[in-house]
């Protein structure tokens, strides 16, 4: 086996149908990066879901001196007895599993932590503007959240009741929809990529039919005859993958990390997630290009 000879043949093959090679690289790059984007979306949604699992599902915000709602301005800030009665109401509800009280001071600390990357917001917010609240965990998922919310909504001292699930549902729907669209386009492009690989290899085999016929004649092994073509496909796939990797890094750092600023919680994808997706994309790309080249070759370069 002479590596230099094979590489030289590969180079000749790729150069001879340069336009096809470029088209192949571009299509592989785009299809892999779209597929990768889809996978990143899936991971983002999973990350977000995991973050919210085990978190409260209902937040009952109590009135502060700064609360703007009519109910709060009529009654003034929440009193100790009101706190006790809201707590009792919540605890007596059979659907509630756990109720915990977050005082104004605690809430402010939490607020400072979650918005640590937004110092101007922290500077402009007074501790008194962050309300104390009851964080409520339900016995089972969203279905009865509305019922429980209705029990305390409007009770004295209660400013508003927020169902986290409804906020998240919108976010999930958005991400799921985006993911589906991206994956469908990626699948169409992958089909295009497969056809392009097959066509490129076929053209390449046709371009070099003279060489291959002589190779067969002088007794080059099948492997030796086919390897340059196989490598052509795989190499184009690899270059496409490299471009896709660059695109995925852009998608991750600009799009997904950019989304973070609109959400008050940190569920940013880390580098490991990105590396996983990139490696998966590489495997898919190589298998796709390699298998297609191989199958095409079996049809066009028979002994």
């Amino acid at each position: 086996m002479r590596a230099q000879f094979v590489l030289h043949e590969v180079w000749i093959g790729l150069r001879r149908n340069l336009t096809m090679t470029i088209a192949l690289v571009v299509v592989v790059a785009i299809s892999l990066s779209l597929l990768g984007t889809g996978l990143l979306f899936v991971k983002q949604v999973n990350n977000t879901r995991t973050y919210w699992q085990g978190k409260v599902q209902l937040s009952v915000y109590l009135c502060t001196s700064g609360s703007a709602s009519t109910q709060c301005s009529r009654n003034g800030p929440v009193t100790a007895s009101e706190i006790t009665s809201v707590r009792q109401t919540l605890q007596s509800d059979p659907q509630v599993s756990r109720v915990s009280f977050v005082s104004e001071a605690q809430a402010y600390r939490q607020f400072r932590q979650e918005f640590a990357n937004n110092p101007s917001l922290i500077r402009d917010t007074l501790p008194s503007q962050i309300p104390s609240s009851f964080e409520v965990k339900l016995r089972n998922a969203q279905a009865d959240a509305t019922q429980v919310a209705a029990v305390v909504d409007g009770a004295p001292g209660v400013d508003q009741v927020v169902q986290n699930s409804s906020v998240l549902d919108k976010f999930y729907k958005l991400l799921d929809g985006a993911r589906n669209a991206v994956v469908i386009i990626a699948i169409i492009l992958i089909i295009a990529a497969i056809l392009l690989v097959a066509n490129t290899i076929r053209l390449s085999a046709f371009n070099r039919r003279r060489e291959t016929s002589i190779m067969r004649l002088v007794g080059a092994s099948n492997f030796y005859v086919q390897l340059p073509f196989l490598m052509e496909g795989v190499l184009a796939g690899l270059v496409g993958w490299l471009v896709a990797t660059a695109l995925l890094i852009v998608v991750k750092s600009l799009l997904l990390d950019g989304l973070q600023q609109y959400f008050p919680f940190n569920v940013q994808l880390n580098t490991t997630d990105l590396v996983e997706v990139v490696i998966l994309a590489m495997i898919i790309g190589l298998v796709l290009c390699g298998t297609t080249s191989f199958l095409t070759l079996r049809r066009y370069l028979r002994v």
Partner: protein, 229 residues
């Protein structure tokens, strides 16, 4: 070296067999002319020896191997022991003389040191000294055929098959080509040459096998092309 035992080859969609009940032996070191009109089965014979085609019936042994029992992936090894020369030379236009010959060794994975040693030797053998850097289109037909012969012979095959090697070459140059084939034959390589060229066959006085409609109609040592032509 080549042994045909009652071989019949019928191509698909053809009623008449290209070869019919051919039995013949070519011994090691022989020089054999295969003559006969177009379509008489000469090329089929050569293709069967290379295992590019399978016989419909009968057995073929080449270099001691039963071709029917040779697996597909071992066919390349058979072909390494057989050199081939064609009427149309089949050189690579983008490679020079040296590279064309070296290509045959590169693709079977021979080390570069070996290639550097044997290619100049075989260039000398076919009489192309000093032309190793020429491109095929800078050479005459006769010279191109010498390159093709050098490529066929560079791996020292046991058998050299020549399919009308002088078909595209004028008679004067053909003599030179035949001298090279003779020289190759003298190294112990079995040569089988299919040809139409009566003058060459008559002048060489070697064994002649004549095919007609796929049958052997004459097998004569030290023969001539035949009076009928």
């Amino acid at each position: 070296m080549i042994h045909f035992d009652n071989v019949t080859k019928t191509y698909q969609n053809q009623s008449r067999p290209a070869l019919e009940n051919v039995t013949l032996d070519v011994e090691k070191g022989e020089f054999v002319f295969l003559v006969g009109p177009s379509g008489s089965g000469k090329s089929t014979f050569l293709r069967l020896v290379l295992k590019e085609e399978r016989p419909t019936e009968g057995r073929i042994h080449v270099a001691g191997k039963d071709l029917a029992r040779l697996t597909n992936w071992k066919v390349p090894h058979l072909r390494r022991r057989i050199g081939c020369v064609f009427q149309d030379f089949r050189l690579l236009p983008s490679k020079n003389v040296y590279q064309n010959i070296a290509f045959a060794l590169e693709v079977i994975g021979k080390p570069r040191r070996f290639i550097r040693k044997v290619v100049p030797e075989v260039i000398d053998l076919v009489g192309l000294e000093g032309k190793r850097d020429r491109m095929p289109d800078e050479l005459s037909g006769g010279e191109q055929q010498r390159v093709a012969m050098a490529r066929a012979f560079v791996n020292r095959p046991m058998i050299l098959l020549a399919d009308e090697p002088t078909g595209n070459i004028d008679p004067a140059t053909s003599i030179g080509i035949m001298k090279v084939l003779d020289r190759i034959n003298r190294t112990g390589t079995t040569v089988v040459m299919a040809t139409h060229d009566a003058a060459i066959v008559d002048s060489m006085r070697k064994r002649v096998i004549e095919l007609e409609y796929g049958k052997v109609v004459r097998d004569q040592s030290r023969g001539v092309y035949g009076q009928a032509y």
